[in-house]
Amino acid sequence: MRRVVVVGGGPAGMAAAKAAASCGVEVVLIDAAPKLGGQYHRQDARESGDRFKLPDGVEHLAESVVWAIEPILEGHRVHVRTGPADGPDRTGRAIETRALVLATGAYDWTPPFPGWDLPGVYTAGAAQAMAKGQGVAVGERVIVAGTGPFLLPVATSLIDAGSRVSAILEANDPVAGFAARPGGALAGWTKAGELAQYGAALARHDVPLRRRCAVIAALGEDRVEAVLAARLDEDWNPVPHTMRRFEVDAVAVGFGFTPQLESAVAARCEIEGGFVAVNAAQGTSVPGVFAAGELTGIGGADLAAAEGAVAGAAAAKRLGAKVRAPIGAMRRARVGRRFAAALAEAYPVRPGWRGWLRDGTIVCRCEEVAYGEIRHAVEDLDVGGARSLKLATRAGLGLCQGRICGRNVAELASLPDAADAFARRPVAVPVRLGELAEDVPVDEAP
């Protein structure tokens, strides 16, 4: 029996499962959501049925979380709990494999700014998920701010859900960025059509798109009542005397994505520049562990699917299956990476966002740690390591375990290992003590 375990059911994970299954190996796909598709294809939970179908030979473990990855001889033991996260009856299982594909994706990232912890401030991803997944509009008058092409579909989803979008504030000047790298932009020409559609939809609703602008503060007592926006210079410092107030009841902020690294860090994969380092076959630094999708670089669904197909084939090959080289997928992945590089260049994050913060600005929302406390720890207490900084300030120690604030805390404190400093979590997601105490069935490595 040969078994590939795929973690993540988004475009990359689904493609990996299909590719591996087509090579004749058994596949277990583990995903936290009730339905396939991941964040990108987020399926409406209210509709019955699943838009996606995986081939026979793929066991789909829905509503399943990987809470630990344990190294064993020549492979890994993947510890899974299955069932609704808040329910008392999750079942436990451990699955051993010699070929593990990690496709855990990314979540959206936003820098903190004064008032970002007010009710009514949403990440762009959350606002879109509510609009697309549940048909709920986050507000009546909404401003969309941040950077990246993702802001456009978020704005259109909000309009579809019934919001009035006051403006889209794009912190970069992407036209200039793309002009500097025409090759990369050309590589993504298929995307251009998609973006044009969003652009047309927004124009129909008179939504202005302002470049080099950002929401630098949200105002309100118990919830957002207005935001302050400013023009930004090249480093994202607010340009004096350009402050403008927008009366809104919700804000959707998205500054790009940050990869969900816990599984990769637990499996000991090498991280480079914030992403899992992979070779042309999507192999990580750890033999038998492959990574695909946003985990290896932010590049969108098409690139993720291409990488997933390559990773699935490579994983099957590792188990001794006869595999035809996935040349098409490898080519799509190469092209996709060029486009991703162009995107990254056109929509960078500039250091000026640090200047938007005040000492009282909350950085870690779970533990309510303000920027001033982090500065105190770094400047007065000389605290430097990630773990000691967490203990000295409590930043990143709350329920989200630094998923939201980790990167911000690390950057504000100039930690050397910023990318994975907060991703080292032997228990990756909350597990009840009673569940930990249980003996669980183990699917042993063949």
């Binding site: 190294p71 000389d382 430097g384 032997p426 909350p430 003590l433 930990l436």
Partner: protein
């Protein structure tokens, strides 16, 4: 970074032991530089629960050092407050007390014998019946066979404590250099220490203190004066914050046994306590594994079972995270504190295993006493470097 100027003493390792030694030396007027290859308090110290305990030590030199340290900590914290102000000196010091709980008939005898011996050594111990124990800790198991209460057990936040000690050092003109690795010792013709080498450079000094914690054995071997200090791995589980679940440090009476155990294979015994933030910390495991920090789910399972054994209600509580660390372990389970007769000017302060936070105050004091020729705070004999269990052949 520019060249580091000279000092009387270079302390290697900015964990709590190095910081406590540096603080105590500087208080005695010695010029000290602390160097660490990483950031201060970022390894073993940051993995500690912050225990300042007298309850978990068997009578003997270790208990004597623990009692001296428990006495020293509040005095030291007062001195720090005076010197650097209350904000920098705030270390979440709390005298919370400890409860040793026996849950089997077999555990009653050993617990009684231990507490009798501790009492004879001057430790305050109070025997409680099950009802009184559950008055103190309402969520305790029904399966209690014996309980002892140690009112003097205390806790502090080790990272903040280290930062405060280093701030005091700085206030007295000392220096801390992060990201500096000492890779050798410079000696004169007589073999005495004259400097700490950092790559091509050397920091001139007349003494160095090896406060490298679990890495102290490795460091001592590289400089040609090996001592037998090895890493012993520990894991701690941390739950989501709970409203007032447990007030004291509560542990299975088998804990002392596990602490004292020399075996390399896994030892776990339940230790349950709350932090200021409301999270519950669940320990403790001990396993000698070199520096292998791979996850072992079997260890987590043992910890979970032990904690539920003491507090059945914990079964439904989510564990938010787990973390592991290495403790500096010695074969005779006593710390090493003193000058190395093989290399005049080389001092060691390490080998405290899981008790380094609690023992730091007296360790720093003892080292400074010996360095300056003062009357030592405790008998230094049992901790000397040239005892046969510790000093290895070069």
């Amino acid at each position: 970074m520019g060249r580091i100027e000279s000092a009387d003493v270079v302390v290697i390792g900015a964990g709590i032991i190095g910081a406590a030694c540096a603080e105590a030396l500087s208080a005695a007027g010695v010029r000290v530089i602390v160097v660490d290859r990483g950031a201060p308090a970022s390894a073993t110290t940051a993995s500690g629960e912050g225990n300042v305990l007298v309850s978990d030590k068997e009578p003997g030199p270790q208990l004597e050092l623990a009692v001296a340290s428990r006495r020293r900590w509040p005095v030291l914290l007062d001195e720090l407050r005076e010197l650097i102000g209350p904000r920098l000196a705030s270390v979440e010091w709390e005298v919370k007390g400890g409860l040793a709980v026996a849950t089997t008939a077999e555990a009653v005898g050993p617990l009684a014998a231990l507490t009798a011996a501790q009492r004879a050594s001057g430790v305050e111990v109070e025997d409680l019946d099950a009802d009184r124990a559950r008055e103190l800790e309402p969520h305790l198991t029904e399966q209690i066979t014996a309980v002892s209460h140690f009112p003097d057990d205390a806790q502090l936040q080790p990272v903040l404590a280290t930062a405060a000690l280093l701030a005091a050092l700085r206030a007295r003109g000392g220096e801390i250099h992060s990201g500096v690795t000492v890779d050798g010792i410079a000696t004169d013709r007589s073999g005495a220490v004259v400097g700490a080498r950092t790559g091509a450079d050397a920091i001139p000094c007349r003494a160095v203190v090896n406060a490298c914690g679990p890495w102290a054995g490795h460091f001592s071997a590289t400089i040609g004066a090996p001592i037998d200090v090895l890493p012993r791995r520990g894991m701690v589980l941390v739950t989501a914050p709970l409203p007032r679940f447990v007030g004291r440090k509560v542990y299975d009476a088998g804990y002392v046994d596990a602490v004292a155990s020399p075996e390399a294979d896994l030892r776990t015994s339940a230790v349950v306590e709350s932090t200021a933030a409301g999270t519950v910390l669940i320990g403790s495991s001990r396993r000698r594994t070199a520096f292998d920090d791979d996850l072992d789910v079997a260890v987590l399972r043992c910890l979970a079972r032990g904690a539920i054994g003491l507090f059945p209600k914990l079964a439904g509580v989510p564990v938010m995270r787990a973390y592991g660390g290495f403790r500096p372990y010695t074969p005779d389970r006593l710390p090493v504190i003193g000058e190395d007769p093989r290399m005049p000017g080389l001092w060691h302060a390490t080998g405290h295993e899981g008790a380094g936070i609690g023992l730091a105050a007296a360790t720093g004091r003892l080292l400074a006493d010996l360095f300056t020729g003062r009357e030592p705070v405790v008998d230094p004999g049992p901790f000397r470097v040239d005892r046969p269990e510790i000093a290895l052949e070069a």
